[in-house]
Symmetry: D2
Subunit: 140 residues, 4 copies
Amino acid sequence: MNYIFEIELEVRDYECDIQGIVNNSVYQNYFEHARHKFLHSVDLDFAELHNQGFDGVVTNVDIAYKNSLVSGDSFIVKIALEKQGHLRMIFNQDIIHKETGKLMARGKITTVFKSNGRPVKPDIFVDALRTKGIDFKETV
Amino acid sequence: MNYIFEIELEVRDYECDIQGIVNNSVYQNYFEHARHKFLHSVDLDFAELHNQGFDGVVTNVDIAYKNSLVSGDSFIVKIALEKQGHLRMIFNQDIIHKETGKLMARGKITTVFKSNGRPVKPDIFVDALRTKGIDFKETV
Amino acid sequence: MNYIFEIELEVRDYECDIQGIVNNSVYQNYFEHARHKFLHSVDLDFAELHNQGFDGVVTNVDIAYKNSLVSGDSFIVKIALEKQGHLRMIFNQDIIHKETGKLMARGKITTVFKSNGRPVKPDIFVDALRTKGIDFKETV
Amino acid sequence: MNYIFEIELEVRDYECDIQGIVNNSVYQNYFEHARHKFLHSVDLDFAELHNQGFDGVVTNVDIAYKNSLVSGDSFIVKIALEKQGHLRMIFNQDIIHKETGKLMARGKITTVFKSNGRPVKPDIFVDALRTKGIDFKETV
């Protein structure tokens, strides 16, 4: 995949559950945090956008869990970006174990921008990407 | 869908995020809690199974977010069940707004049972379902 | 203690950590949810108050952990109320194991109301309590 | 305070609630993560200790919330250590805003070590501290 952004994180013990592995829902937290850090890297801010009445909204999440993250693990969250049609921005996100390089989880997160509760074209976002010269796939 | 189980829950304010809506990751908590309550209803216990070296593991999560749950909302989590091939149990789970009847989110959660880290046939689970006379679809 | 409100909850498995017990931080979630449900019972709403520019803010939390909640437990969160001086409302909150009646945790949560970031007298709250005839201790 | 350890963290947006500030319960996550990282720094591991039947258990948490962490904040969690009597290890933990140096929260976390559910002297921990030449206060 054509990754355009990555951050390194590590498992926190409170994120693990009875099975001693990171709870499935926490991967969404990791993915979200990576997306928001990516927004920062193109000078956009999720909280500020919200205050301006402009919300990035997740409409679909598809996560394949390949291997379990456990206490002590460090990992990289990587992002590849795809614009689908006029409205959808899709974040293809991989979680890679730092030491082993293993793919731990692969997420496909579909988002739309909304203003006053209605979908709007993600122009702010696309402009920010172009300003920074960031590459993304366009699909129908 | 042919629902076989449901529980009623309500939004807790700490589950909401900056946008004032339930954070996307929390829906996985709701889905998981409903599955574990369903296990209880067929006399199985997630924590006990783990202590017996038998883990239900989520391999894939696909969630369509249709409408946002907000502070004060009550909702029903419903489950329909599907056995796919020899190993996979798929939980089709809907979250329905209690007052309006609106579909808020639809999840397809694919699980396998593992023992000593390796996939095993979900016989314990299938037997429990049959004992209780619970219906599930079988697909290839 | 002179309890004025209680709710019943049950442990959700995702709230448990590697040790197989409910993580310490989650007790704060339970306490908060009970407080917000109590507000509802006197016709106040935490999210609405926030939208009106009026925030209940926790300034201190003191929790004694007596026994560990585990998977499958049901429990009661009870509230006794105390007004301290002009500004502070203190929620004395106990978590009682439903089956055994054991005290699991005891919290003392000190709150103030803020408007535009500055502490204000909790008149809205006190009026709501008086309207409902709800008893609270007053201390200096 | 005589700090012996610190880590730097940053607010993640999903940790913020309706009020747009980090939810109070999350500070316990920050404190816990800092403690576990500190354990690592003296070659102890929370998850491993648990598997050896040796659990660090929090018996009391006292947190003073001074200022609210918000989206985008970076902060330092600092630890000072105190041995109280024969059994209790107390972690005095401060959260300091990175940019402003402001104290955001101060926690006093009382812990005991347990084996088979019964309190035991924290010898493993004290030995690890002495091996590393780490200073701690002893009180009665």
